[in-house]
Amino acid sequence: MTPHPPLIELSGLLIRAGRRDGADAPPKPIDLVVARGEMVMLTGQCRSGRSGLLNVLGLLDRPAAGSYLLNGVDVAKLRDRERAALRGRQIGLVFQRKMVLPTRSVLDNVMLPLRYLGLPRWRRIDAAAQTLDRVGLATMAHLMAWQLSAGELALCAIGRALVARPSLVLCDEPTAGLDQPAAAQVIGVLANVHREGRTVVVATADQLAAAYSGRSVRLGEPASPLDFGVRLPITDTQAGSLR
C-alpha cells in the first residue's frame, strides 16, 4: 500500500514580495513539510512573511520560485479553476482582519463558501447552522456581521472556514486583537478542529497561541541548521523543517 504523501511539501519556496512587504519580505527559500493531521504554528517577527506564506499555501498567490506540492500535486501546474476548486472544497481560510461581509447576517457569511459548491439552500443552512453551533455562535446566526464583537467575528470567520469541511485550515493571526478569553476560545476551536484529524496551519505572533500547537515553525531566521529547531515553547517536530 502506497503511503500518503505529506499534505504540504514546500521546496526552495520564495515568496513574492508585495509592495507592503518591501525589503522585509523573507529573502530565503523555505523548505517545509506538513503531514496530514498536523497543527503547525508559523511564527516569526513582524513582516517575516507569515501571511505571504499562508497566501501561497491557500493558493491565493503563486510563489516567486520553488515548488509547492499539495497532497503530492504541484500546484504550479494547476489552472485557475482547479485552484479555485481546491480553495472552495479543501482549504479553509481564516484571514487576519476577520474579513466578513458586514451587511450580511452571520448565517449568510458562514454559508458563503457553500454557494460555490452547488448545494441547495436547505443543505447550506443546515451545514452553516451546525458549524455555528460548533464555534459557539448558534444564537447569533441572524445578527448582522457588523453587530459582532471582535471575538465573535473571529469565530464567525473560523466557522466560515470550516463549513465546507476542508482538510486543510489556514489561519492568519486568528487571535490578533482579541482579549485573552476570546483568544482562548478561538484557540480552543482550532484545537478541536485539529483533534478531528484536520491539518491546521496557523500564522501567529501570539506566543500563547503557539503554545497550543504540536509544532512551531519560526520564519525569518538565518538559514543555519543550528537555528531551525528553536521553538517556544514547543519545539518543531521531525515532520517539518525550515532551512
Binding site: 479553476r81 479555485a84 449568510d108 452547488g118
Partner: protein, 416 residues
Amino acid sequence: MSGVLVRRTTLRPADALGEAFTSIVARPLAATATGFGTLLAVAWFVAVLGLVSTASGQVNSVFTQRLPTTILVTGPVPKVLDAPFPFPADVEQRVDALTGVVASGVYWQVRLGRPVVVSPDPLTQADSAPAATPPVIAGTPGYLAAAGAAVSQGRLFDAWDQSHAAQVCLVGSVLARSLGISSPGSPHTIDINGASFVIAGIVGEAGRQPSLLRAVLLPTSAATALFGPPDSTAGARPAVLIVTKPGAAEAIARQAPFAINAALPHRLIVSVRSLPVLPGRQVASTLSGLFVAVGWVGLAVGVIAIAGLTAFCVLQRTPEFALRRALGARRAHIASQVLAESVILGLLGGLAGASIGVAAVVLIAKAKGWTPVVAPQALWPVPLIGVAAGMIAGIAPAIQAAWIRPSAGLRRFPPL
C-alpha cells in the same frame, strides 16, 4: 484530498441571481445611482422615439391636409347627338351617401352653338355697357359647395332656386370687374344671349375651380329650361365634381362609378389629382431616422456612463470579490454576479425609464397641442433594451471584477 481530482466549484443560476439581489439591496445608494443611469438612458430613448412618432404624426397630418380631395367623374364621349344625360337625377344623393364624401355636384358648360354674349341687361343699363363672352357654367348648389365657391357680395343660389329653375346667376369677381358690375344690385340683371338673369351674388372665391371667377354660373335647372340639356358633342360634357375628406379620394374614386351607375360603372371616367403623398412620408421618414439616431446616441452615452459607474462600484467592492475568490468562486462566478446585478438594475431601470419616457411624451405633446403617438408594441421591448444596456454596461466591469487577484484584493479589506 485527491489533488486536481477535486470537483470544480459551481454557482447555480438561482444562487447567482439571489447573490445579485442581495448585493443590490445591501448597497442601495450605488444601486440607485446605477439604476437611475439606466432609467435616464431608457427614458431618453423612449421619449425620443415617442416624440419622433408624435412629430411624424404631426407631419403626416399636415401633409394629409394636402392630399388630393377632388375627383371628377365624366360620362363617355357621346357618339350621337342628343345622347342621354349620363348621370341619374339623384346622382348627388348617391355620391354624398359614400363615406368620406364632403360635397358633390353636377355641372357643365353651357354651349348654345354660337358665342354666348353676356352683358348688363339692356333694359336696365346704358347701351354703352361693356359685353363679354365668358364661359357660362350650369351647376347645382352642390357643385358650388364642391367648388369651394364663396360670394364676396350677395348670396349663392340654393336648392329653392334650383327646384324652381329661377333665373338667377352668380358672376365671378374677375368677370364682374370687366363688366363693370360692382355689386349684385348694380346692375340687378345681366343678359345672356337675350335671357335676363338676376345677379344673386359675386363669387369672390372658388378654391377648387378658380376658373369660376371668370364665369357666369347658372342653376342647372334654369340652364336646361332656357338653353336645353348639355350638348355633350360640343365638348361640354356634364361632370360630377366630388370633394372628399383627406386621404379618402382614392377609395371614393373606386366607389363612385358603382354608386352613380352600378350597371355600367366602367363607362364613367374618373380622374383624381395626382397624389403628392411621397414627400410627406419622406419628410417624416427623414426626421424619424435623424431623431432615432439621436435616441441611440443618448442610449449609448447612457450605457457608457453606467459602465463607468459600475466599474467604480466594482473597484470599491474589490475586497468582497477577492474574498469570494478566496472562498472558491471562479472568475466566471464573479463575472456572472456582476453581470446579473447589472442586468437586474437594467431591467428595473428599463421598466421605470419606459414609464417616465411615455409620461414625458404625453406631457410634451399636450404642451404642444399634439396628439401623442406611442405604439404599444414598440414599448414591450423597451425593458429588454434596459436589460441589454445593463448587460453591455456590465461586461467590462465584470471582466474587471473577475480578474481581481485574491491576495491583492484582500489587502484592501476595510477594518470592521
